[in-house]
């Protein structure tokens, strides 16, 4: 009786171990590829004069709820595309934020999420354009070198990327040795 019990426990442990390995490296592996550890080098560089967030962004309730500091301390400009500027901002409780400000369009937007998201994907914003396409801006962790959608690839600059006129429902981000699929939810 005792021998049967021991065999049962051994079989159970074996089955659970196999299931765990399959989930990590097999069945669930394609969506769980990890690149980097969630670090963002752009947030560690010395501050420059233009890194401060616009006062209009700091005045929104979003800033008070999400930013580690109400005045957006620690924010860094990631990249600029014409009138569009992307910022990274340290967030509360382990979050990190991506903020976009388009001075010509008079628009601003933001997304704040747990930093762990950056290990397996991107903190992004996808804005539907009048023609139905998406403009996607993203924040990625160290180690990511490119973002790609609809067969078009763009380089990651200072932990950020911009993909205009995306028609597809997903994008790929990656490093020289690994890729991750990001669902845009359309």
């Amino acid at each position: 009786m005792r021998r049967r019990f021991v065999l049962f426990v051994a079989a159970l442990v074996g089955a659970l171990t196999a299931a765990g390995l399959l989930t990590q490296f097999g069945l669930g592996g394609s969506n769980r590829v990890q690149i980097g550890d969630g670090s963002i080098s752009a947030l560690k560089r010395a501050a420059r004069a233009g890194d401060a967030l616009p006062q209009s962004v700091l005045a929104y309730p979003f800033a008070d709820r999400n930013f580690a500091s109400p005045d957006g301390r620690g924010a860094r400009v990631l990249s600029t595309y014409g009138s569009l500027t992307l910022y990274a901002v340290p967030g509360k409780s382990g979050m990190v934020c991506l903020i976009e400000v388009d001075s010509a369009a008079g628009t601003a937007g933001g997304a704040c999420a747990d930093r762990s998201v950056l290990k397996t994907g991107s903190i992004y914003m996808a804005d539907r354009q009048e023609d139905g396409s998406l403009q996607v801006v993203g924040l990625v962790g160290d180690g990511h070198t490119f973002a790609e959608a609809d067969g078009r690839r763009t380089a990651v600059e200072n932990n950020s990327f911009l993909l205009p006129q995306v028609e597809g429902s997903d994008l790929t981000i990656g490093s020289p040795t690994a890729t991750q699929e990001v669902d845009l939810g359309r």
């Binding site: 209009s56 962004v57 929104y60 309730p61 979003f62 709820r65 999400n66 967030g91 509360k92 409780s93 382990g94 979050m95 369009a105 008079g106 628009t107 601003a108 937007g109 933001g110 997304a111 704040c112 999420a113 747990d114 762990s116 998201v117 994907g121 991107s122 903190i123 992004y124 914003m125 996808a126 804005d127 539907r128 998406l134 669902d183 845009l184 939810g185 359309r186």
Partner: protein, 113 residues
């Protein structure tokens, strides 16, 4: 002269002050997968729409607006807590949604006009 000043002051008192209105249209409730919150205060010329799950957010979300004619505008998909600030171009109703495959607690969705 004094009478003119008094008349001017009285006239200024009658001018309505323009101030932003804030409406919290989802307040501390669970939204199921693809669950949508809507501002039942109706259509306004919004300039701000926000969804706030909480400090642990890490899944997809969406905020957008729809005109009475059914046209969708200022549609932003995000990962985590999300806001969209924009010119008040459209007379529209504000929406927010949990776009994850699981239910999530939404602290609040709010809009401004």
């Amino acid at each position: 002269m004094l009478a003119a000043i008094l008349v001017a002051c009285f006239a200024l008192m009658l001018v309505p002050t323009a101030s932003a209105q804030t409406q919290i249209y989802v307040w501390q409730q669970n939204l199921p997968p693809n669950g949508v919150g809507r501002d039942y205060a109706g259509a306004h010329n919004h300039f701000y729409n926000e969804l706030y799950f909480g400090p642990n957010a890490g899944w997809r979300s969406e905020v957008w607006e729809v005109t009475p004619a059914g046209y969708r505008h200022f549609d932003k998909n995000c990962v985590g807590n999300c806001f969209n600030s924009h010119p008040a171009y459209y007379f529209a109703t504000a929406y927010c949604a949990n776009r994850d495959g699981g239910s999530h607690f939404v602290n609040q969705c709010l809009d401004r006009w």
